[in-house]
């Protein structure tokens, strides 16, 4: 059961909205059908936890990742059912256990070290013992990881840190110390041997005492055998430690994939929402687009119901009386006139010159993602000439269309006069009192005449004029910006610098339209 709960946690991290009620359902369902069959289990959890189709791929990915680990852990649990808790306990107590050991070896003189060496063939540290018996460590690793709170991993740079921490918890300190002591004692011995052999040579030359040589030889043999065994132990310990480290690293990597991948994305998204649109990196465009679409979807669902209620008009008296004739004239059913809903129109005009193009891209994307709830939209882009791009959006995929627009018209220098003249000839006639005009531009006109008189006409003909400026309020009217010329002929002028601004703007727009 704990696995399922953990899995739900991972799903939440990945952005799936799993409520407690749904978790309970999942647990109940798993209780009914068990975890044995992978396929059943997968469909059971999908049925109870995944409620949006967009989440399906994330779910599949996570399920495969997650249940691969669980499979392993389950197996070992079954294999050494009563051993495992003991094992884990040992692993955890390993650290304290061996610190005593270390003290011992340090306080012991060189002569006593030899004595303890004999035991060390079986390895003194608990971790070493476990490893030399070839125990499967995956459960211990899982438990150590849980104790170290591995699921809180966020960045890939933390991977080594967590691997280290888990190794420590498994009792690595003792193991390394052991390896070191063996190494030390071996060194000591070899130096002793060298000294001995030197001595022997000297003594042979000088005295040639047979008796003494025989005892020395025996001693040496014993010592050599001893050190050989130690060497073997050391080699084995080093090897198994390396493989354990690998295992831990693999595990951390896997957990990182499960938990952190999506978390990192979340951080990035939060950052992007606040980031200035004009300074976005091209690499982030993709992510940004999905963010825009998500925000648009949210707004769309919030506002979709408003339209429905508006459809009902006034009481239709004639029809009501006719419908209620059967009830002796008592008015039970009411009949309503349907109001003819005149779809309000929106004309979006976007400056796509170098300074504003990045913001324009996302504004247009947002606008078109809102099409479910947004009335008919005509869109124009301009740098110096006004071009209608409504048809382009219809023909092509929104992203492709945006790309094309930016390539064809983006990056040119701005001329508001010619642009507004273009607007006058192309669209002024169709602007009426149901039209909302949204203008996105920085009003930087390269010192030319702004033709604010056309903008005044637009203002007088339309229902509303909204101007979004991608610059901060403080920089309006500085340099070649002529915001103040247009400002009197706008319903409102607002800065529009990041995604949050765009979202807020559209939310208000939908409320009023």
């Amino acid at each position: 059961m704990r696995f399922v709960v953990d899995f739900i946690g991972a799903l939440r991290e990945a952005g799936l909205p799993v409520s407690p009620a749904e978790s309970l359902d999942a647990l109940k369902a798993i209780k009914l059908l068990g975890l044995e069959h992978r396929e059943t289990c997968k469909s059971v959890l999908a049925l109870t936890l995944v409620k949006r189709q967009v989440d399906q791929t994330v779910y599949d990915e996570l399920f495969d990742l997650y249940f691969a680990t669980i499979r392993k852990a389950e197996k070992t649990k079954e294999a050494d059912n009563d051993e495992s808790p003991e094992n884990a306990l040992k692993a955890q107590s390993g650290q304290t256990d061996t610190s005593d050991n270390k003290d011992n070896t340090q306080s012991q003189g060189p002569s006593e070290a030899d004595k303890s060496d004999a035991q060390q063939v079986n390895s003194s540290s608990t971790l070493g013992q476990a490893l030399s018996q070839n125990k499967d460590m995956s459960l211990a690793i899982t438990e150590a990881a849980a104790a170290e709170n591995l699921s809180s991993i966020v960045l890939f740079t933390q991977k080594n840190y967590f691997a280290y921490k888990i190794m420590q918890r498994l009792g690595d300190a003792a193991l390394s110390a052991e390896i070191r002591t063996i190494g030390n004692s071996l060194e000591r011995k070899s130096s002793l041997e060298r000294k001995n052999s030197l001595e022997r040579e000297g003594s042979l030359e000088r005295e040639g005492s047979l008796e003494r040589e025989g005892s020395l030889e025996r001693e040496n043999n014993l010592e050599r055998k001893n050190s050989l065994e130690q060497k073997r132990t050391q080699r084995k310990l080093i090897k198994s430690r390396a493989s354990l480290l690998n295992q831990v690293k693999d595990y951390v990597e896997q957990q990182y994939l499960i938990y952190a991948q999506h978390k990192g994305l979340k951080y990035r998204e939060e950052y992007l929402q606040q980031a200035k649109l004009s300074q976005l990196d091209r690499l982030d465009f993709k992510l940004m687009q999905s963010l825009v679409q998500r925000a648009a979807r949210k707004l769309a669902s919030q506002h979709s119901r408003r339209r429905l209620t508006r459809k009902r008009g006034q009481l239709d008296v004639r029809k009501t009386i006719a419908a209620n004739a059967a009830f002796d004239g008592a008015l039970f059913h009411t009949r309503w006139k349907a109001t003819r809903v005149e779809r309000p129109k929106i004309i979006a005009i976007c400056d796509v010159s170098g300074s504003v193009s990045a913001v324009a891209r996302f504004l247009l994307l947002f606008l078109y993602s809102l099409q479910d709830v947004m009335p008919k939209v005509r869109s124009f882009v301009f740098a110096s000439d006004m071009v209608e791009v409504t048809a382009l959006f219809k023909q092509e995929d929104i992203e492709l269309a945006l790309e094309e627009i930016m390539q064809r018209w983006g990056g040119l220098s701005t001329n508001y006069a010619t642009a507004l003249e273009g607007l006058q000839s192309q669209a002024l006639a169709s602007i009426d009192n149901k039209t909302t005009v949204i203008m996105l531009g920085d009003a930087r006109n390269n010192q030319g005449d702004g033709r604010a008189d056309i903008w005044e006409k637009v203002f007088r003909n339309s229902k509303r004029v909204l101007w979004l400026n991608p610059e901060h309020r403080n920089s309006w009217d500085t340099g070649d910006s002529i915001m103040s010329e247009y400002a009197p002929w706008c319903g409102s002028v607002e800065p529009c610098r990041n995604l949050k601004d765009i979202e807020r703007f559209f939310s208000r727009l939908l409320k009023h339209s």
Binding site: D25, L32, T40, V44, A46, L47, K51, S301, R305, L308
Partner: protein, 320 residues
């Protein structure tokens, strides 16, 4: 939420039928509905957890059919409610029988004299009027609509709420009480609880995103287009007398069509129609001529037909 055991009439009666997903899967097959394991699991869970199922998927993959088969399988009446924009509770849940209520007031008027005879003063009259049974708003004048019928059904029922995405958001909210507690509130009468818990299935074609509250209360089953093997079996059971080789060809071709960028991909129901047509026309092997002639059975948009027609030969070549 606790549901007393006695309410689960449908389930107790057919306990052996829903003992495991595998049994459901094989029995449905006997009824001519070939389903994948996850569909069977969903039905199993719906019965045992007492949860509604929200079925999504492209049109024509057998969402509505699943409800029908379930009803047949469990010997329960199928109560179907088709959703549409403007559906409200008077059409979905209950309506008062206005005509009869009017007649009742007429009758009451005549009786009023007898009831109030001898009463002294206004207070006593009103007191007597209160004692008089008030049945104006009572079960007698209640006209149950599908949802209420499902709740009142003694035997339990399979309630199919078809194309919930077509209904308004308000209606969705109105369903929540029914879906989670199997009860509805009628202002004049109070809360009406289910006699026996119905099995509720909702279908959606995803024309709009459903609310999270609704989704949370349901098991969510997504039925995709079937894979080749499954579709082959479906055809085998649905269209009798179809040559095995031809059947495989049909399934392969349909699979290919689904990979093409069509406005509407051919669904299972269209595959079945097409196979039946080919059988009727005594076609023994798919050849470009017959495919071209019958393409309009598979593709419902002229654009799609125009897109596929030039490709027919190439498509058929790949099959062999």
């Amino acid at each position: 939420m606790f549901i007393p055991e006695c309410q689960i009439v449908v389930i107790i009666k057919h306990q052996e039928k829903i003992a495991s997903p595998e049994i459901i899967q094989s029995r449905y097959e006997d009824l001519g509905y070939i389903c994948s394991h996850s569909v069977a699991t969903a039905i199993y869970l719906a019965c045992h957890l007492q949860k509604p199922i929200l079925i999504e998927g492209p049109p024509g993959v057998g969402k509505t059919e699943l409800a029908k088969v379930t009803a047949t399988y469990l010997n329960a009446p199928l109560i179907r409610m088709q959703c549409y924009e403007g559906l409200d509770e008077s059409k979905a849940l209950y309506e008062w029988k206005y005509g009869k209520q009017l007649l009742y007031t007429q009758v009451l008027k005549e009786q009023l004299g007898d009831v109030l005879r001898g009463a002294r003063g206004l207070d006593e009259s009103i007191a007597r009027l209160h004692d008089f049974g008030d049945i104006f708003y009572s079960q007698d004048f209640l006209e149950p609509r599908p949802l209420l019928q499902a709740l009142q059904s003694q035997e339990g029922a399979v309630l199919l709420i078809d194309e919930i995405d077509k209904a308004d958001q308000e209606f969705e909210a109105f369903l929540l009480e029914l879906l989670s507690d199997y009860q509805v509130s009628i202002p004049e009468l109070g809360t009406i609880k289910a006699v026996s818990t119905p099995i509720v299935m909702l279908t959606s074609n995803n024309t709009r995103e459903l609310g999270d509250a609704l989704k949370r209360r349901c098991l969510h089953l997504y039925i995709p287009f079937p894979d080749a093997a499954l579709e082959n079996r479906i055809l085998a059971t649905q269209v009798e007398g179809l040559d095995t080789q031809l059947r495989e060809q049909i399934v392969a071709l349909i699979g290919k069509l689904r990979d093409m960028p069509l406005k509407k991909s051919p669904a299972v129901s269209e595959t079945i129609d097409w196979a039946r047509a080919l059988l009727l026309l005594n076609v023994e092997e798919l050849d470009p001529h017959w495919v071209k002639e019958t393409l309009n059975l598979l593709l419902k948009f002229q654009d799609d037909i125009e897109l596929v027609e030039p490709e027919i030969k190439a498509l058929l070549k790949d099959l062999r």
